[in-house]
Symmetry: C4
Subunit: 485 residues, 4 copies
Amino acid sequence: MDCTTEEIAKHNDASSCWIIIKNNVYDVTEFLSVHPGGPSIILKYAGGDATSAYDPIHPPDTIQKNLSPSQCLGPLITTTSTTDWKDRVPVEQTQDEMRVEREMKHRPPLNRVLNLADIEDIAKRVLPYPVQAFYSAGTDDEFSLRENTRAFDRFFFHARVMRPVSTCDPSTKILGYDSSLPVFVSGAAQAILGHPEGELNITRACGNAGIIQMVCTFASIPRARIAAAILPSQTLFFQLYKITDTAASTKVVREAEELGYKGIFLTVDAVVVGNREKDVRSLWVMEEQEGKTQYYVEGDPEATTNLFGSSAVNRRNVFDPDLSWRETIPWLRSITKLPIVLKGIQCVEDAVLAAEAGVEGILLSNHGGRQLESSLPPLEVLYRIRQQRPDVFDKLEVYIDGGIRRGTDVIKAICIGAKAVGLGRPFLYALSAYGEGGVIKLLEILHREITISMRLLGAASIRDLTPEVVERVDWEPVRRRIGKL
Amino acid sequence: MDCTTEEIAKHNDASSCWIIIKNNVYDVTEFLSVHPGGPSIILKYAGGDATSAYDPIHPPDTIQKNLSPSQCLGPLITTTSTTDWKDRVPVEQTQDEMRVEREMKHRPPLNRVLNLADIEDIAKRVLPYPVQAFYSAGTDDEFSLRENTRAFDRFFFHARVMRPVSTCDPSTKILGYDSSLPVFVSGAAQAILGHPEGELNITRACGNAGIIQMVCTFASIPRARIAAAILPSQTLFFQLYKITDTAASTKVVREAEELGYKGIFLTVDAVVVGNREKDVRSLWVMEEQEGKTQYYVEGDPEATTNLFGSSAVNRRNVFDPDLSWRETIPWLRSITKLPIVLKGIQCVEDAVLAAEAGVEGILLSNHGGRQLESSLPPLEVLYRIRQQRPDVFDKLEVYIDGGIRRGTDVIKAICIGAKAVGLGRPFLYALSAYGEGGVIKLLEILHREITISMRLLGAASIRDLTPEVVERVDWEPVRRRIGKL
Amino acid sequence: MDCTTEEIAKHNDASSCWIIIKNNVYDVTEFLSVHPGGPSIILKYAGGDATSAYDPIHPPDTIQKNLSPSQCLGPLITTTSTTDWKDRVPVEQTQDEMRVEREMKHRPPLNRVLNLADIEDIAKRVLPYPVQAFYSAGTDDEFSLRENTRAFDRFFFHARVMRPVSTCDPSTKILGYDSSLPVFVSGAAQAILGHPEGELNITRACGNAGIIQMVCTFASIPRARIAAAILPSQTLFFQLYKITDTAASTKVVREAEELGYKGIFLTVDAVVVGNREKDVRSLWVMEEQEGKTQYYVEGDPEATTNLFGSSAVNRRNVFDPDLSWRETIPWLRSITKLPIVLKGIQCVEDAVLAAEAGVEGILLSNHGGRQLESSLPPLEVLYRIRQQRPDVFDKLEVYIDGGIRRGTDVIKAICIGAKAVGLGRPFLYALSAYGEGGVIKLLEILHREITISMRLLGAASIRDLTPEVVERVDWEPVRRRIGKL
Amino acid sequence: MDCTTEEIAKHNDASSCWIIIKNNVYDVTEFLSVHPGGPSIILKYAGGDATSAYDPIHPPDTIQKNLSPSQCLGPLITTTSTTDWKDRVPVEQTQDEMRVEREMKHRPPLNRVLNLADIEDIAKRVLPYPVQAFYSAGTDDEFSLRENTRAFDRFFFHARVMRPVSTCDPSTKILGYDSSLPVFVSGAAQAILGHPEGELNITRACGNAGIIQMVCTFASIPRARIAAAILPSQTLFFQLYKITDTAASTKVVREAEELGYKGIFLTVDAVVVGNREKDVRSLWVMEEQEGKTQYYVEGDPEATTNLFGSSAVNRRNVFDPDLSWRETIPWLRSITKLPIVLKGIQCVEDAVLAAEAGVEGILLSNHGGRQLESSLPPLEVLYRIRQQRPDVFDKLEVYIDGGIRRGTDVIKAICIGAKAVGLGRPFLYALSAYGEGGVIKLLEILHREITISMRLLGAASIRDLTPEVVERVDWEPVRRRIGKL
């Protein structure tokens, strides 16, 4: 292979994408579509050196493990001096970088941030567009993404009055561990894209606040480093992506257990990666901003003899597509004593199967609207369990995530039967906007909103949040944003 | 404490807020969040003299009663002459003050004001923005605020024809007292912010019109002065905020009874203050208008060791958070012979409990969407009582408030079972826009709309307004504003 | 009285409104609110000479009959010469008049008018704004007006295929009279405001088309002149406003019968006039256009001692507010042999009473959304009769009007059980835009739309339009205007 | 007849429309309304030479067969030299032509086209406006057109997890023929207007992809030429418009069978042509763009003595309006051995009749919202069959078309019971934008979307797509377009 910078620079888009990492050259064209962090991040460095982006957020050897030998093209041949190479790096800022710099200076003071929508707004202003797109994207037309949130709008309270609420305790237990709110951090990858300290911002804030963090298999900070950062009283859960190489996954689980993680959340809704178009398009948006829009040229090669290929899953799919009730749960039980929670249950039928399989919990989730389009909103699944199979609530702990943005959203889910609710993107937005201080602010907001609303609902503790105090109404409430920063 | 104007001027925001009242200095930082009138009004005077705003609308000693000794910082040390001080006061008008002045000159003639939406529009144009925000704000995303109104849109009439309506009498009785319309003034605080004569504008107009006014515990005109202003035939009710100091509340109730108030409306939906973000943001909007936007500075102190504090209600909460069926009603019965109405019932279950507790009435209300977000619209609660427990209507009088803006809205509520309906904000808007004349106009509009609609509905009296003539439809009517002044 | 032009000119608004008609002066202040054509038309001439507007559209003596002697102020005292008076008349065109002139020149060719919405658009462009407002206005917030139309959107067809439709006959009978379509002209007043030939445009077009016209009590062309214009085969119905003076109404009915009208449509939904704000505001809109906006002046007289007056209907109400099943129907039977139809039935209960009262038909109507706000859409009432009391369809003929704008709308109503449907405003718009040619075009469009849709529905005749071929769906179809002229 | 170019040029609109084809002159005024391609295409050439547009897309003699002898006016009389005639032809480009040229150069590269909405957007940019209008138009207010798509939004998935999906096979059989996806090309006419190779673009792409194409009776490429272009393994179906001349239709069917077409899809929803206003208006839009807007002139001839004509179908209607269960099916059976599918079934009742009639399949369709307005969306009909008469699925194959734009749309229909789904317009848009490459791209997108979604749904094959995994929800999901090219 001609691993010169000149040749490499030609492979600079999705049709042929080479990158340099630590002076080695890789062909990641095929890998683009299965990258857990999405293709756009990689494409940003197509035809050039990606070390600075890759290095801080990946365990060593990650890339080698995910590529075939033929895709490892060999060491970089430096025909020009390092100085020359640096000359090639554009010294001018992009439009987007200038925007980010400007917006960072105009963030509002933290004491004016009133709610999670404020945090999201500010984060979207200060994040590089491709990161914003990666964080916020949903599948296809984003029905599930939007409906996750709108589902909460349809539930109204039967507020109870004349009940003493001078003391109001929103704390609960999750898998037996204390939680100061019925809220936990749901796993969300690539926090480092928003802030150099990445997931550690969450870890530190949660320690003070008594909130449990679920850490991703693909966290951008090594899971050992996160485990080393916690307070003695602090609890971490581990989110597991089972990969096809079962031995590797076994090793990961054992490592997590040894590091002190207290529960395994096995993701079951991501056997392949969802179709997130906003993410895919983000690079083209950048091109257009820079006045480098590309156009179709007649004769571009696109004909294929075998249009659809084999019916087998793409060979480079990183996740195990063959999870099963019969094999996966027993395997996991056999390698860990930790409680097991299935993350990504999307219907009543599977909630029942999970209860029969004897797992400790299920997290009703459609991956924040990032996997199957038109998957039912988790709150609606929760409501159907309450209506159709309330016995499930007695057999395991039920959590939900997706679309929760207000203290009242949390309370609604708890009333219907959830033991706790997870939030994902809001934490990424908080750390992107203000680092650890942003995460602290987010938790303060949730605490304030939850305790005010519980008191106004006549609830002195989580036990008072019962199905009777919520009602699913038969009309469509109107959502409108009030005031912005 | 260094109570010089120089030092005071440094404590000019929510992080540290000092104010001068009648030459005494107070630290109201903690008090901000529990001020019944919201923090923004106070913050307007942070670091300066608030006497002109405080004095006319508070009973003497109010501030001392609500602050701890350590928050009373002592007398103002005038190191500069009064003349100097006055020099510090900005002589230039703010953008907002100029807007108000301009809009006051362009109010339409009163005979062109056709409906309550016109009145609200005009008031919003002529009110200082912070007052407008305080009056109009709802909780969180304002779902309950909006849905209160939209609930009426879903009810349609089965108009009856061929019924003699040359005479049409819309009068009724409320707690046994004559009311010329099935309408009363629901308690709404701080009328003085909209007009110097405050609640007296309402009192005078209602006297002529035969309408009953409910006066707030925190009315900006002393309740004795209001009582002194009524006609012999006129009726007043008293809205009671029970505070933690029961002896003080006892005194207030007895005073009201002696002053001739004819009923006690005990507020039960405000054990803590709701999260009204429009109100909180109003001061920042003003800053931005004046080109004085503040930005975040890295390193601003925001970390906390104990994030959430104790689970007990904030020690400075002004309202009694421990109301109860077992204690509060018997206490109130024991100190007054007046009929008791619970203001803020939000579900069928509590309506039933109220009937069992033997109170004379309930006011279905979610505090105009200002307390618990996602509380059911009062009209929907009323409808559920009709569907599920119509016996409640036989045991006590049921009223509703929240979202009523048309004569047909009033009629719909009466048809379903309400004895009368309350309006709050519309009266504040009317007096803000045109003083007493505005309130008269508002009542004329309601009278005209109610009698026209009753006749077109085939109803010659309130008795003809029965459940059969309304129907809750299963579609979503479209709301659109027609024409404006 | 001082009937000089100087004095008269002072009485130029709704607080005191004098007008000159044929050199006599009248105080029409009280009459404004009961004028069948609305107050705005009169106010246009307040303080001046209204002869040119009054004369062509009112029977002689109309004004004297409607005013008390004291309101007839006497003959005009001409202190100035006619020449002087004419000088006072503004010679410049108003903005609105210029707009109308311009738009008249830019009407599209008639063969490009594709549907009734096109006709309405064009009419609204070429009509003087006050006339447009008078024609198009609904009550209050215009819920009933809008929902009348939207009701049709919720009904979908079960189209039937493989049925011979080479011949497709849309004709039917209404009260036994031939109608080439299941459509008639519903009474709508004041056609002369849109075109100098007024209702005659409709009469002539309907003659050729075999369509029946219902003529208003207050038609702007004398009913005798209309009767004189019909073809031998042509049928007219008479719309009756019963007034308090029963003898006068008796005379009117007998006259109509003698003139050859074939049925009496007694209006029962207009005992008082609805609150049509767009109409009331139209004059102020004109003022604003001319840069003559009026503003509120402190001290304007508006206080009243007796705010609401008596509970009796305004003494100048022109319509009889005391219609009743017991008296009105027998009276009408006793004075005419013509079939009787009640126009303005708005619920199932009254449909049943009408059947029991033995009338020949009912017209389900809420007066085009111009009377009671939130009155159920007629199509929904029709559907409820089909669901709850289908026996009514066997006892009398049921028609509907309100919101019908497409051939499919007509077909939907016929399927559910209507014998025929009425259209009102569309005819006014058609003659306003293009005179008689516009009405012909309207009828051609309806004929084309009805026959195409019947064929596509598998219906060869009206008999094939049965309840089974429509379904009321449970979602909200989206309405959007496609293309415009 | 005066067949000079001068005279011909006078007959240049819908009121009198003459055209020249190959030096012969035709009066197509009456034919306009029955032209399968809509009137606007013809009107573009009214008063001039239409040969260039007519010739490539019509079989020889088409026009003569469709006109009466009196409408064939005779040979063109060339009184001026060809040179003169050419001088009359405008040499300047129209605004629209310039727009098309510009947009063609700015199409995005094919590898950036992510979904079918992208393809539609690009096609609408590069198509001449009249063609875009012809392709995209629906009937009347386009309710059925829009609701066809929105129907899919209301169905959500009960995604199943923990099911092995490493292999996922989306292939199926349609009428016994292999199909690599449960998708076929539904007949859509006039592909040549979008691309000179017309339907052949589809044929070639489908061959490679293993997808079945249904070819129209009025395909713009002769059906023999299409049949000659297929691969040995490739399957074609034939869409039949039965015309009144049964012998001619018999000949067409036999020819199709001989050419190797494998099934007959008899269109039953088009006995007359729907009212597609966007199409009709398109020419006027062009005029306006060119600054040649026409206006109404008083006195234009439009009065008619017999307004509505006979109740018989227009004599020039090209389709047989007298299809019937009793005659049409037996006739078709008698002339072909091919399986018969009825295209355009719109209700459960007719689905049942079709099963009883013994046809092999039905295509639930409302002609893409181009025929009967307010016809139920096909997906809703499919759902009603599942609810009310699931036995139908056992008796014949059920397909649907209309509104399908995503892989999840396909899957939803299959889950409810469809054997396969048809797409029409998307193929026209794909070939208009990029020719054969566009069609390939479209099929790749569908394949990708279907297989990703099947895996995320836990489905390894079409057999796993059962009614249990979809739910029709009772709220209205919000549709919003995410990102564009």
